[in-house]
Amino acid sequence: MTTDHRDPRRPRANGPTDVAGHEVRAEGTTLPTLPGDTHAHVQAETATGSRTLWGDAWRRLRKNKLAIVGLVWIVAVLIMTISADLWVPPLFGDPLAVNTTPGASLQAPSLTHPFGTDKLGRDVLSRVVYGARVSLTVGVLAVSISLAIGLLLGALSGYYGRFVDSLVMRSADVFFAFPYILFAIALIAVLGPSYRNVFIAIGILGWPSIARVFRSSILSVKENEYVDAARAMGASDFRIMFRHIMPNAIAPIIVYGTMSIGGAIITEAALSFLGMGVQPPTPSWGLMLSDAKSLMFRAPWLTIWPGFAILTTVLAFVLMGDGMRDALDVKMKD
């Protein structure tokens, strides 16, 4: 994002809000916006009496085309998977229904099977859509686990420092010392390969990064005078931590968390590809790639579609995260 993008959003000094609001609108509309966005933008600006930081961030995010493309894609995938039961089986067939009639397997894409069929005669489109369920669930649950552990430990580490800090950060170092995928495979080997254990393993492996990011964020926020002011007001450690520091330190976590969902989806695909993840016959993108690898040249649609799904979905999360980084950045400027 260029600076002129943000300048109109900078904290305004004196003067009534409506005057300030006008300025923003006048400058805002000259900036590149999505087609059809200008009108909505002006409306939103008029509607909100007092601007919030998150409201500002959302307005900035909306100007980032790539982030919006990512967001739209994520929402589209979400809607597709949630409503899958309604339209996929009747139109394209059950993702698990094996069809052994001669000629049913390895069909090239056609009208009845737009993405073709696999070697067991199952519809690939149907499996890709249901595979999204697995991927998104694993992504979100794994990152939730990482967040739960990472935020708590990162917060303790950053706020209390000293012994707690050393303990948490050295444990994180231990986790970082192992090659990621190898560690994941080892964990799965212990827990046993299953859908549930995949996100547990990915979640456990993700906490050290979250803890580090959050810790450093807290360390910088902690130095602000408003933290001293809160202490001088008689606020307890708990209150200072959760009400004064955390909300100001959370922005990098939102960015990192969003991107991590993409990472978790890739890891799930990799583990499933290696047979250590989701087990057949559950449709998973990684598993589909694994099944298709020997048929890559005879039936390329078997690899193209799940591969495309992984690529676009992960990219969407990364673009989203990147856009959020720019959108939330303004606080670091003032």
Binding site: R12, T17, D228, A229, A230, A232, G234
Partner: protein, 338 residues
């Protein structure tokens, strides 16, 4: 009845890699109900640390209050447990910080921040506190207080933020208001407004004020008592009139002489005090001011002068005898200040 605040022989030290910094080294003073005490000195003289020590806000573990007593209405703050200190902070003793641009939390509405201490100490609901916050904003002279209370700090100007900080500090009607260089980060025109506001609020609420500043001019009109600090020690203490009209310590003379004067100025340059404030790790022997003092003598580098009462409560720590002082014609004489 005990004094509102009595500080006795307070010493706060910081442990650094290079050694122990005696930021505050044996400071004593008394603050009575409704009085204004100005603490004056250069950067690093221990003014702010004195204030922070009173509220037990010195950053541990590097900083430690090593000795002394801070008696608030007779109770020693330094002996209280954490929750007792928290009850005191913001409720009985409130603080205004130097930089209004950074001392408001950017993610909360101004009204909510002002109301926070009311929720904490007075058990108000968030809504009641918000209402009261709007009244407080009105009191400190912010137009359209009800609307502005819904604003975020970045929508306020520097002067307005400092007004909001004052409103925040006054929310619980504290007995003591500590203002750590409240005007340093502001424009000169706004400075005057803020000081006026503080005076007005003081008259209205009857709170005692400790104002910390390096600008003598700022406090000349408003302070009842003045304490001059140098290298962590008190060098002079007295009523505002005593310190401004009959200053005893050469350091105070230097401070007064270095003030820009509008009335008697012969277009001369400012007269700064020569030299630098001393390192607090290797404080000069004897009187810490002797390397910079134009009147220093052998005794000064050998023996640290005691803080002695020179004249009805006017204390100074200096070896110069009263007779000598008259001959030296110190620059106080008043009038020139402001």
């Amino acid at each position: 009845m005990p004094a509102l605040l009595e500080v006795k022989n307070l010493a706060t030290h910081f442990t650094t890699r290079d050694g122990i910094v005696k930021a505050v080294d044996g400071v004593s003073f008394t603050l009575e109900q409704g009085k204004i005490l100005a603490v004056v000195g250069e950067s690093g003289s221990g003014k702010s640390v004195t204030a922070l020590s009173i509220m037990r806000l010195v950053a541990e573990p590097q900083g430690r209050i090593v000795s002394g007593e801070v008696l608030f209405k007779g109770d020693d703050v330094l002996k209280m447990n954490d929750s007792q200190v928290r009850e005191l902070r913001g409720d009985r003793i409130a603080m205004i910080f130097q930089d209004p641009m950074t001392s408001l939390n950017p993610v909360f509405r101004v009204g909510r921040q002002i109301g926070e201490s009311l929720v904490l100490h007075k058990g108000m609901s968030r809504k009641e506190a918000f209402e009261r916050a709007a009244e407080l904003l009105d009191m400190v002279g912010i137009p359209h207080p009800r609307e502005r209370a819904r604003d975020y700090p970045h929508q306020f100007s520097g002067g307005m933020r400092q007004r909001a900080m004052i409103a925040m500090a006054l929310a619980c009607d504290p007995d003591i208001l500590i203002a750590d260089e409240p005007t340093t980060a502001l424009d000169v025109t706004i400075q005057a407004q803020i000081l006026e506001l503080m005076m007005e609020m003081q008259e209205r609420t009857g709170a005692a004020i400790i104002i910390i500043t390096h600008d003598l001019g700022v406090v000349a009109d408003m302070a009842d008592d003045v304490m001059v600090m140098y290298a962590g020690k008190q060098v002079e203490y007295g009523t505002s009139d005593q310190v401004f009209y009959r200053p005893l310590h050469p350091y105070t003379w230097g401070l007064l002489a270095s003030l820009p004067r509008h009335d008697v100025d012969e277009k001369g340059a400012l007269r700064p005090i020569a030299g630098q404030p001393p390192s607090l790790i290797n404080v000069p022997s004897g009187c810490a001011f002797h390397p910079r003092c134009p009147h220093a003598r052998g005794l000064c580098s050998a023996d640290a002068p005691e803080l002695i009462d020179a004249n009805s409560g006017h204390l100074a720590a200096c070896h110069i005898s009263p007779d000598e002082r008259l001959l030296l014609q110190p620059p106080g004489r008043g009038g020139g200040v402001r």
